[in-house]
Structures are given as C-alpha cells and as structure tokens.
C-alpha cells in the first residue's frame, strides 16, 4: 500500500503536499478559482489590516514625523537608532527574552504535557498550569506586583525563612531574569495545550507496536512519540520565538522598561519612541529593525519544515 509510510513521514516533515499519485485537483481555471476562494479571504484580511499598515510603517521610518508634521529624513532614523547606546541594551534584552522563553516555557510545557497524562493529580496540575493563560494582563500585572515588589509576597516568604529580601525588579540584569521566569507562569499553559493536541495525533497503535519492539520510557518517547509530534513542536517553538522577540506586556506592567531604559526590549523602545516621545519615524525604524529580526529568526527556523518534499 502506498499509504504505509504516511503518518510518520508527514509528521516529521509536515510539508505542503508532494505531487499525489493521481493529481486530483489539476490547475484548470476552475481549480484556480477554487483555490483563491479558499486562500483569498484570509489573505485579504491579513493583507488589508496587517500588511498595509506595515508598508505604512516602513515608509514612515524614512521620515521625521511627530504626529502632525512630516518631513523626509532618508536614513537619519536608522543611523540615529544604531548610534544610540540604549539600542544595544534593548537588543540584548530582546535576545535574553527569546533564549529564556525558548528554554523555560517550551521545555516545561513539553514536560508537563507528557507527565500529566493519565493521572488524577496530573489533571489538577494541568489545570493549574493552564489557568494563568486565561487570565488577563491587568490581573497578571497586579498579581506580579504583589509578588515581586520589594515588600511583596516573595520577599515575605524569604523573610519567614530567615533570608534577606531581594530587589527583584530594581536592577538590571536581575529584573530581566526575574521577568523571564515570571513570564513562564503565564506562557507555559498554552504550550501544554498545544503539545497535548500533538500527543493526541500520535496513533496509539504506533506506540503499542513500538512497545512490542521493546521500546519503553524515555526511549519510547524520544524515538517514537516526539518525532510524531513534530507539527505541534513546530507551532510551539515558532510561536515562542516570535512572541518572545516581541515581548512587551509584562515588562511594561512591571518595570515600564526601567530603571531608565535598562530593561527595555525592542518592542518597548519602539512604543516609547512612538507613543511617549511622538518620534514616529524613529519608532517606525525600530519597528522595522525588530520585524526584520523576527522574520529572519522565524524563517531560519521554519524554512526546513516548509521546504517542499522532493518528489
């Protein structure tokens, strides 16, 4: 049967279709119309509402614009940005965030998704981990402030244990590290859910067969189950990569990028320049630089899984 290799192969390389044996949907005009009816609506929405403003942003990055008057500025914004000492700091923080977010919430998410399978305690733990994802940023901000302030809950606990309080948010790099750990609380839940969807797509017969072949425990997981979850892993890592590079909310809520601009990420730098300083051009240039970084990182990661399968 030609079907035999399908699940394992498509899961490991979830590529767009290789040419099927009997080309069922050929490329007649009618088929093209059908295809555009499927792809069209989503593309139109994204194109008009998201891509068009991006074009506007790119154009603005070459101007000096304060919200009222606009002048052509050439590459001034980019040179101003790259010579600003704050930019390097902001870039460094952004990279710290993406490394931290790839390590903590993704790895923990996978571990929790796997370990919580099939036990009552596991179900409770899973609910506990998922709840924070459902909470709003406002709630999270207030709670984190409660936890991490100098007189907050974490230092209260340290105090009862006879330990010295820690300035969690007042100094760099401690504040950035603290916030990355704190973000794990909220970000892990979604990864658990996605990994669980992935686990569900693994056919139980595959596992049974592997067990018959003598695989078990870690070996069974890494050799058999994990490769079959590739489509989930790609989504989780892809999203974690993009989201961490765009980190904004938590930093804004906890330190507003401070003290000074020490804990700013690129998204915050962009926001401050655009909305607090009305330097739209400079903010747009930051946005463009950030967008290039995110697109490049995502492309490097995703291109392998998107490459058309050799026929």
């Amino acid at each position: 049967m030609t079907v035999s290799a399908s699940p394992a192969r498509t899961a490991a390389h979830p590529t767009p279709a290789g040419p099927p044996p009997a080309a069922p949907h050929g490329r007649s005009l009618k088929d093209r119309l059908a295809a555009s009816a499927f792809i069209g609506p989503a593309t139109v929405f994204v194109g008009l509402v998201l891509l068009l403003p991006m074009v506007w942003t790119i154009a603005t990055s070459f101007t000096r614009y304060n919200g009222v008057t606009m002048h052509w500025a050439g590459l001034d914004n980019y040179t101003r940005l790259l010579t600003d000492p704050g930019f390097g700091q902001s870039l460094l923080n952004t990279l710290l965030w993406s490394v931290g977010s790839l390590v903590l919430p993704v790895a923990l998410g996978l571990l929790i998704a796997v370990v919580t399978q099939g036990s009552r305690l596991g179900t409770i733990a899973r609910i506990a981990v998922i709840i924070p994802y459902a909470l709003s940023g406002t709630a999270t901000g207030v709670v984190y402030n409660f936890m991490l302030r100098s007189d907050g809950a974490v230092n209260q606990v340290l105090g009862t244990l006879g330990l010295d309080p820690v300035d969690w948010l007042l100094h760099w790099p401690m504040n950035t590290v603290t916030m990355i750990v704190a973000s794990t609380w909220q970000a892990t839940g979604i990864n658990v859910v996605l990994f669980m969807v992935g686990l569900q797509t693994v056919p139980s017969s595959t596992i049974e067969a592997a067990r018959l072949d003598g695989a078990s425990g870690g070996k069974l997981f890494w050799r058999v189950v994990f490769p079959q979850m590739a489509s989930s892993t790609i989504v989780v890592v892809g999203m974690a990569l993009a989201n961490s590079l765009k980190t904004f909310d938590l930093v804004w809520l906890l330190t507003s990028g401070g003290p000074g601009t020490a804990s700013e990420t690129l998204a915050l730098t962009m926001y401050r320049q655009t909305f607090l300083l009305s330097r739209y051009g400079l903010g747009a240039a930051t946005a463009v630089v950030l967008a290039i970084i995110v697109v490049a990182a995502s492309w490097l990661y995703l291109r392998r899984s998107l490459r058309p399968e050799p026929a």
Binding site: V3, S4, A8, R9, A209, P259
Partner: protein
C-alpha cells in the same frame, strides 16, 4: 522502524477523531449557543456617541475613569444651568496619542481634557483647537477664575484651555506618626530633616518615593524649585543646562537623603499603598498631587483625621516660598459635531453651582477661587500657602516639551537607583534635553 506497522496506523487517527467528538460535540453546541446569545445581548447596547450631534449631551473625553461619578454630578449641575449634560468617555491608556490622532478627524469629543503648558502648545500647533479668549474674559469678569492661571492655559497669548481643577503638589503627612512623636509640619528645610531623623529613629519610614513612570518628578521638582525657583524656570525653558552646578547640587542633596535610608522601597506603588501606611503611622510623608486625596478617601484614609498636607519650605535660605501647581484643562476641538453648543455651554463650567459638586467630589480645590474646598487637609495647605505667600510654579510635566519631560524623568528614575552616579545622570539628562529641544524647535 515504526512505520512498518502503518497500514493500521494510517487509518487510526481518523477513527480516533471520529469517536473522540462525543465530548467535543457538546462543546461545539455550547460555543454555538454562546455566539448568538452574545450577539443579541450586545445589540441592546446602543452605539457610539462620538462624532454625532446631540441637543442635550456634550461628548467629553478624559483619561480618568475614576472621576466618572464626579463628572456626572458636575454634569447634572451643568444641565440645570445650560440644558447640556456630559456624555463621558474615559480612556486610560495611550490617551495623549488617541486625542492627537482623533483630533484630526470628526470622530472627536466636543470637550477634551488635556494638560496645560507645553502639552497644550503641542496640541494647539496642530491647529484644531478653538480659542477660548472670550470664554476666559467672561469668566474673569464674573470672578469665576483666578486670572493668575492665564499664562498656564495660553499659547501665544490666546487662551485654549479652561481650568479643570487647581491641584498642588505637596507633602501628605501621617497624623498618627506626627502626633505620636510630637512633630509639627516643618517651617524650614532643617525642620524637615529633624522630622525625618526622629521618624527614622523610631522605626517609621520618613518618606515615600517611586521610580516608575512620571513618579520621579515628585521629588525632582520639589528639591529643584525649593532650592532655586529662578533656576527651575531657566532650566525648564531651555535657558539653563542640566549640567549646571545648581542641578548637580540638587541631585547630590537628593543622593544624600537616599544614603540615609529614609525612603520606602522604590518600587512601592505610592497611589495605592501609601494611604494605609499614612493611616497606620508606618510612613511619615508622601510628596504627591493633592488630587490623590479622593483615592485615599475611597480606601478609608481620611483627610484631617489620618493625614494632613504641607508645602515644603525653601531649602536655600532667603529664597521665596513657592508651590507646584497642576491644572488640567478642558479644550474644545473645532471640528467636533457640537462645537457651537460646546462654546456656549462651557463658560458655565466654572459657575459656582457646577464647581461646588465637582470640588466636593475631587476633595481638591476648584479653579474658581470662590468655591470653598471641604477637604480639611487641603484647607490646611491653602492656609499655609496664603500665610507664606507662596508663588505658584507650573509642574515640571507641563513646563518643558513632552519629549524632554519623558526622557529626563526616565534619567531621573535611573539616577534614583544609582544615586551616587549623579554626575553621569546629569550628563545623560543634558544630552536628552538637547535632543528634545531640537525636536521641539523643528516641529
């Protein structure tokens, strides 16, 4: 190889999905039921009022939803006089940005809350605000506004804003702590230091301070204006540099205060956390806007009973008494749908019958000097200001271009966490101030 078992496995997923949905089908139904219900409910809500004309309500935009009840009671009073009420739209985030963007369209409120000083100038530059010279002159003729506020609300000698309130920045002090140790509000800067020492010696934190957002301004402007008010005016108008020895002196004095460990943790949320601490006598003094009284009261902290207010005496001997004043304003966008009506109505905003409920709500002083304030702590402050003939100075926030204020305050916040490096901080401020002035003059 696992795939050797595939003939079965390739069909297994399908059947798993096939028999799985017994649970999820119910969820689909739940989701499907939710949607039209929500749609039906939401349809009852009516639609926006921005950009629509009305013969009974003026759309008003402001950045403080906490004041809704106050706007409503003032609006009711306004309606009795003019037939017009406020339809309040509160926008707590990105307010400045939203106003600047929407003022260029017709989707703008008839009355827009704004700040005085440089932020007002910035908005006027866009050319969309109505001049309020006649309204102002009439209010002055009716003795409804303090003429000394005029420069704060004018751009190029035309009035563009009508004062919304007249707040001060001053020191809240804990009645409990002061009474316990027999302390009185300071008559001089030396008194303040003595008070701080007494409090600290008795385990009470003398001062609050917060490093986030605009909060560094509270201490910055107090120390600056009380050291040298003339220099403050020169510095904020770009006539003096941030590397000036006077500013370095101010920062050094501040760093010395901090070296004494006289402050609360710098990440304390002053507005919400300090009220209870003043009430309980665990914190001595809080330099902050008098408009926060209402928030303290809402949390069970009462003026007169739990806290009083004083203005910091001059730090430098022989310098005149000054006080920081903040006055938000109402502005009238020319393109708003009910602009003509708004022009007719807004003059009555300062009428005593409208200002009394408003001032009672705010627990703060009205811009109409004939409206008595009922907050005993503010009364105490007003008496001190009258006794010392304190000259009003505009708040730092309104005294320089917005870009300068934002960047310099961010540098002040960095300074607060590394006070010994005040020289570097000052250089940083100077660099950012130059940038901001260049931007401001180019615009």
């Amino acid at each position: 190889m696992v795939s050797s078992t595939s003939p079965a496995s390739s069909r297994r997923p399908a059947s798993r999905w096939g028999d799985g949905p017994t649970l999820s089908r119910r969820s689909v139904l739940a989701a499907a039921a939710l949607t039209p219900l929500a749609a039906a409910l939401a349809a009852c809500g009516g639609t926006s009022t921005l950009g629509e004309s009305s013969s009974t309500r003026l759309a008003m935009m402001n950045d403080n939803a906490g004041w809704l009840a106050g706007y409503q009671s003032a609006g009711e009073a306004l309606q009795k006089v003019t037939g017009y009420d406020f339809d309040v739209n509160s926008i707590a985030n990105n307010y400045n940005q939203i106003v600047k963007m929407s003022i260029q369209t017709r989707k703008i409120a008839d009355v827009v809350k704004w700040q005085s000083g440089y932020p007002l100038t910035e908005l006027v530059r866009g050319g969309r605000l109505a001049e309020l010279d006649d309204v102002w002159d009439q209010a002055v003729a009716q003795d409804r506004v303090d003429e000394s506020l005029r420069p704060f609300v004018s751009v190029d000698s035309h009035v563009y804003g009508l004062p919304l309130y007249k707040s001060h920045f001053a020191f809240y002090y804990s009645k409990a702590a002061f009474e316990r140790f027999g302390l009185h509000p300071p008559e001089s800067y030396d008194d303040l230091i003595e008070i701080a020492k007494t409090l600290k010696g008795n385990g009470v934190t003398p001062f609050s301070a917060q490093y986030t957002a605009w909060q560094p301004m509270c201490w910055f402007e107090e120390l600056l204006t009380k050291t040298d008010p003339e220099f403050y005016l020169a510095l904020t108008s770009g006539q003096a540099a941030y590397t000036d020895p006077t500013l370095l002196d101010v920062l050094r004095r501040w760093s010395e205060l901090m070296a004494n460990d006289w402050f609360t943790a710098l990440d304390l949320d002053v507005a919400s956390a300090c009220g209870p601490m003043l009430r309980d006598g665990t914190l001595g003094m809080v330099p902050y806007g008098t408009w926060n009284s209402g928030s303290f009261v809402a949390n069970g902290v009462e003026p007169g009973e739990h806290f009083g207010l004083f203005n910091l005496p001059p730090i430098t001997r022989g310098v005149e008494h000054t006080v920081i004043v903040e006055s938000g304003v109402f502005t009238l966008p020319r393109q708003s749908p009910n602009h003509a009506a708004a022009m007719d109505v807004i003059g009555e905003w300062l009428a005593p019958s409208v200002q009394q409920p408003w001032s009672d709500y705010l627990q703060d002083s009205s811009a109409n000097p004939n409206v008595p304030v009922r907050n005993p702590a503010v009364v105490e402050l007003q008496e001190q200001l009258a006794r010392t003939e304190a000259t009003p100075l505009q708040r730092f926030y309104e005294s320089s271009p917005p870009q300068l204020v934002q960047t310099v305050l961010s540098d002040v916040s960095a300074f607060m966490l590394a006070p010994s490096r005040y020289r570097e901080a000052a250089e940083q401020m100077a660099r950012h101030a130059d940038e901001a002035w260049t931007d401001w003059n180019l615009a």
